[in-house]
C-alpha cells in the first residue's frame, strides 16, 4: 500500500516549488515534466547537430568540418534524437504525466523506480556528449554501431556510446515495467480495460515492446563491448565472428524501437483529435486490436532492414510479407482518425494543426515504408537518402509533430496557462514547411543514388541538397516561436482554467496544475472518455 502512495514522501521530505524539478521527486507529474524539459534540451542539442550536418551538405565538398567529425556529429545526432529526445519524451514525459490520471491512480505503480528511470537519463546524455571532448573522439559508426565499422573506429568513444545506450536502455526497461504494472494493476476499481483512454493502450503495447526487445539490444551491446575491449570475436569476421548476427540482434530491438517511438504518438493523437473535433474516437475496439497487432507484427519484421546483408530468399519473402501486413492495422488507425474528424466541429488550433499534419506526414512515411518492404525496391534504395527521408517522415513528421501538438494540448494542464495561439500557428507553419522542404527532396536524392552518411557527394545532387538545407534552417528557426511561447506564457499567459478544452478524459477533471495526489477526494470514474456529442458537452457523466 505504501508503494503507490507518495503522500508518505511528499510531506516534509520532498522539496516544494520549482526546486522539486531538480530533485529525486516521486510525483509522477514532476517526473513527467522532468522528462519533457530534459528531452527538449537534448532536442536542441540534437537539432544543432542536425544543423551542422545540413550545413556540411549544403555544398558537395567536405568543407565545413573534417570527415571524422562529420561521422561523430552524425552518430551523436541519431543517438541523441532517438534515445534522449523521442523515446524519453513520447513515453516517459507524457506517459508519466497522463497514465496515472487515465487509470484513476494517485501515482505510478512504482514511484521510486520511476524516479530512478528518469535520473538515469541526464548522466547517460552527459556521458554520451562528453565523449566528444573527453575520450578524444565520439563514436563514429552511426546510431546502428554496425561491426566491423564500430570495431575499427576509435574505441574509447564507441565504448562510452555503448555505456550510455545501456544506461538509457535500463531507464527504458524500468519505465516499461512501471507502465505495464500501472495500467494492468493500478486501475481504479470499476474501471474496465476497454474503457481506458487510447493512450493507455498505446503505452501498454509500447511497454510490452520495450520489455521484450530492449534487453536483447543490451545483451548485444555487451557482446560488442567485449569485442572492443577484450578482443573477442563475436562480431569480428577476422576472428571467426559473424557480423550478420549483430544485425539480427540489433534490429530485433531497433525495429520495435520505431514502434516504441511511434505507438505512443498514435495514442496521444487519439486523445487530441476527439477533443478538438468534438466527436467520439471512431472505432475504439479496432484501434485497440490494431495496436496489439502492430506490437505482435513489430516483433517479427526486423530483417527487412537487412535485405542486402546476404539474407536468404525465404527470409526475404517472409519479412516482406510480414512487413506489408503492418500496413493493415496502421491503415485501420489512419482511417479511424479520418472518421473521427469526419463531420466534427473541428477547432483548428495549434494542437489540432500539428495533429492533422501528423496524419498527412505519417501516411506519406507509411507509404514509403511499405515501398521499402519490397525487396527489389529496397535493394535499389538501400543505404541511400530515400531511407533517411522515409525515417524522418515517421519519427519527425510522425512523432515529433505529435509531441508539439501534445504540448499545445496539455500545456494548460501542466501550468494552468494557455500557450499563445498566434505564436503556435507561426511555430506550426515554420515547422510544417521546413520539415517538408527538408525531407521530401531526400526521397529524390535517394532514388537518384545519393548514399547516406557521406560528407561529400556528386555535384549533380547540389540543388536538392540545398533545398533540404534551407528546410533545415526553417526548422531551426521554428524552435524560436516555441521557446518564446513556452517561457512567456508560463509567466504571463492567459489563465486556462481547469478544463479549457471541455475535455472528458480524467486529467481534465481536476485543477490545473493538479494537486500533488491528482485529486482532492476520490478519483473520478470515467467510463466514457470520448463521449462527445452524445450527451451534454460538459463533463456531467462523471461519477463520484
Amino acid at each position: 500500500m505504501t508503494l503507490a502512495n507518495p503522500s508518505d514522501f511528499n510531506g516534509s521530505l520532498q522539496p516544494q516549488g520549482w526546486l522539486r524539478y531538480f530533485s529525486f521527486s516521486l510525483d509522477h507529474k514532476v517526473i513527467g515534466l522532468q522528462y519533457l524539459v530534459c528531452g527538449f534540451v537534448f532536442y536542441l542539442i540534437g537539432g544543432a547537430l542536425a544543423g551542422a550536418i545540413r550545413t556540411e551538405l549544403a555544398t558537395p565538398l567536405s568543407d565545413f568540418m573534417p570527415r571524422d567529425t562529420y561521422n561523430e556529429v552524425l552518430t551523436l545526432h541519431g543517438t541523441v534524437m532517438i534515445f534522449l529526445w523521442i523515446v524519453p519524451v513520447v513515453n516517459g514525459a507524457f506517459g508519466n504525466y497522463l497514465i496515472p490520471f487515465y487509470v484513476g491512480a494517485r501515482d505510478m505503480a512504482f514511484p521510486r523506480l520511476n524516479a530512478v528511470a528518469f535520473w538515469l537519463i541526464p548522466p547517460a546524455g552527459i556521458l554520451l556528449i562528453s565523449s566528444y571532448f573527453i575520450a578524444g573522439a565520439a563514436a563514429q559508426s552511426g546510431w546502428t554501431a554496425y561491426p566491423p565499422l564500430s570495431l575499427t573506429t576509435p574505441a574509447a568513444g564507441q565504448v562510452v556510446w555503448i555505456l550510455s545506450v545501456l544506461l538509457l536502455g535500463g531507464s527504458s526497461i524500468f519505465g516499461g515495467i512501471n507502465f505495464i504494472a500501472t495500467i494492468l494493476k493500478l486501475r481504479r476499481p470499476g474501471l474496465k480495460l476497454m474503457q481506458l483512454p487510447m493512450y493507455c493502450w498505446a503505452m501498454l503495447g509500447t511497454s510490452i515492446l520495450v520489455v521484450l526487445s530492449t534487453p536483447v539490444l543490451a545483451g548485444t551491446l555487451i557482446l560488442l563491448s567485449f569485442d572492443i575491449i577484450a578482443h573477442t570475436g563475436f562480431f569480428n569476421p577476422a576472428l571467426g565472428g559473424n557480423v550478420v548476427v549483430y544485425q539480427h540482434l540489433f534490429w530485433f530491438y531497433s525495429h520495435p524501437a520505431v514502434y516504441i517511438m511511434v505507438l505512443p504518438a498514435f495514442g496521444l493523437v487519439s486523445e487530441i483529435l476527439p477533443v478538438h473535433a468534438r466527436k467520439p474516437l471512431f472505432g475504439y475496439t479496432t484501434m485497440v486490436y490494431s495496436i496489439m497487432a502492430i506490437v505482435f507484427l513489430g516483433l517479427i519484421v526486423w530483417a527487412h532492414h537487412m535485405f542486402t546483408s546476404g539474407t536468404p530468399p525465404w527470409m526475404r519473402l517472409f519479412f516482406t510479407i510480414a512487413t506489408s501486413f503492418i500496413a493493415v492495422p496502421t491503415g485501420i488507425k489512419f482511417f479511424n482518425w479520418l472518421a473521427t474528424l469526419w463531420g466534427g466541429k473541428i477547432a483548428l488550433n495549434s494542437a489540432m494543426l500539428f495533429s492533422c499534419a501528423f496524419i498527412v506526414n505519417f501516411v506519406f512515411g507509411g507509404i514509403t515504408g511499405v515501398a521499402l518492404a519490397q525487396v527489389p525496391f529496397d535493394i535499389h534504395v538501400h543505404d541511400t537518402y530515400f531511407v533517411v527521408g522515409h525515417f524522418h517522415y515517421i519519427v519527425y513528421g510522425g512523432t515529433v509533430f505529435v509531441i508539439f501538438g501534445s504540448l499545445y494540448h496539455w500545456y494548460p494542464k501542466f501550468t494552468g496557462r494557455l500557450l499563445n495561439e498566434d505564436l503556435g500557428r507561426l511555430h506550426f507553419l515554420l515547422t510544417f514547411i521546413g520539415f517538408n522542404l527538408c525531407f521530401a527532396p531526400q526521397h529524390w536524392l535517394g532514388l537518384n543514388g545519393m548514399p547516406r552518411r557521406v560528407a561529400e557527394y556528386d555535384p549533380t545532387f547540389t540543388t536538392l541538397n540545398q533545398v533540404s538545407s534551407v528546410g533545415a534552417l526553417l526548422m531551426a528557426i521554428s524552435t524560436l516561436p516555441l521557446l518564446i511561447n513556452v517561457v512567456v506564457t508560463a509567466i504571463n499567459g492567459k489563465v486556462a482554467g481547469d478544463n479549457p478544452w471541455n475535455a472528458l478524459t480524467p486529467e481534465w477533471l481536476t485543477s490545473s496544475p493538479p494537486p500533488v495526489e491528482n485529486w482532492i477526494g476520490e478519483a473520478p470514474l470515467v467510463t466514457e472518455p470520448y463521449g462527445y456529442g452524445q450527451h451534454q458537452e460538459v463533463p456531467q457523466e462523471v461519477q463520484a
Binding site: M1, T2, L3, A4, N5, S7, R106, A109, F110, L113, I173, G176, I177, N178, I180, A181, L184, K185, L186, R187, R188, P189, G190, L191, K192, L193, V211, L212, S213, T214, P215, V216, A218, G219, T220, I222, L223, F226, A230, H231, T232, G233, F234, L239, G240, G241, N242, V245, H248, L249, F252, E522, A523
Partner: protein, 208 residues
C-alpha cells in the same frame, strides 16, 4: 488480466500499515504488485538470455570452428552443478513454505542451505573455468561459452547475495515473517528463474 485488483492481497500488508492508511485511503488501497513488477523484469532479463542463446545457436549453425577446436566439453562437473542448482530450487521453496507457516528458524536454515548450494555451484563453475583448455579469446565458441556462463554466473552471484540479505533480515526479525515476506518471495522467484535459465543453458551449451 481483467481483474481490477483492489485490495487483492491484503495478507501481504503488515498490520500496522493497514491501520495507518485505512482511514485515509480505505477505497484506494491496492494489492502489493512488487512481485508482478519483478516478474515483468525477469521476462526482460530472460530476453537478454534469449538473445545470447539465439546468437550462440546461429554461430554454431553458420560459423565453422577453427581446426583443432571442438564443441565437446567435460560433462561431469557441470552435471553435478546442474543437480546442485535444481536441488537448491527445492530447498528455497521449502524455506518459503516454512516462512509462510511462521517457522522462521527452519526457514533460516533452509535459506542457509540454499545459499550454500549456490556457493557450491559458483565454486564448481570456477573449478571448471580453471581446467578448461581454452581462454576467452581463443575462438568464437570459447568466447560465447564464457559470455553465457559468465552472465549466468553473475546472476547466481547476485542470487546468493540476495539470499544472504534475506537470511540476515529474518535473523534480525521484523522482515520476512509469516505475514510479510516480500523479500523472501522475490528472492525465491529470482532464484527459480536463474535455475531455469541454467537448465536451458546446460542443454544447449553442454549437451547439444
Amino acid at each position: 488480466m481483467t481483474s481490477t485488483a483492489p485490495l487483492q492481497d491484503p495478507g501481504s500488508l503488515a498490520a500496522d500499515q493497514a491501520t495507518d492508511h485505512a482511514a485515509d485511503h480505505a477505497t484506494e488501497g491496492h494489492g502489493d504488485f512488487r512481485l508482478f513488477g519483478l516478474a515483468t523484469f525477469l521476462v526482460a532479463d530472460g530476453m537478454t538470455f534469449a538473445g545470447f542463446f539465439a546468437a550462440y545457436l546461429t554461430f554454431r549453425a553458420v560459423n565453422p570452428l577453427q581446426e583443432g577446436s571442438t564443441y565437446e566439453l567435460e560433462l561431469l562437473l557441470p552435471t553435478i552443478n546442474t543437480v546442485v542448482l535444481i536441488i537448491s530450487s527445492f530447498t528455497f521453496h521449502r524455506a518459503g513454505k516454512e516462512c509462510r507457516g511462521g517457522n522462521l528458524a527452519a526457514s533460516r536454515l533452509w535459506l542457509a542451505i540454499t545459499g550454500g548450494l549456490g556457493a557450491i555451484f559458483l565454486a564448481g563453475q570456477m573449478v571448471e573455468y580453471f581446467n578448461l583448455p581454452f581462454g576467452l579469446t581463443d575462438n568464437l565458441f570459447a568466447s560465447t561459452f564464457y559470455a553465457l556462463t559468465g552472465f549466468h554466473g553473475l546472476h547466481v552471484t547476485l542470487g546468493v547475495i540476495c539470499i544472504a540479505i534475506v537470511a540476515l533480515q529474518t535473523r534480525q526479525g521484523g522482515r520476512n515473517t509469516a505475514s510479510d515476506h516480500f523479500g523472501l518471495e522475490a528472492a525465491e522467484l529470482y532464484w527459480h528463474f536463474v535455475d531455469g535459465i541454467w537448465v536451458v543453458l546446460y542443454g544447449i551449451l553442454y549437451l547439444l
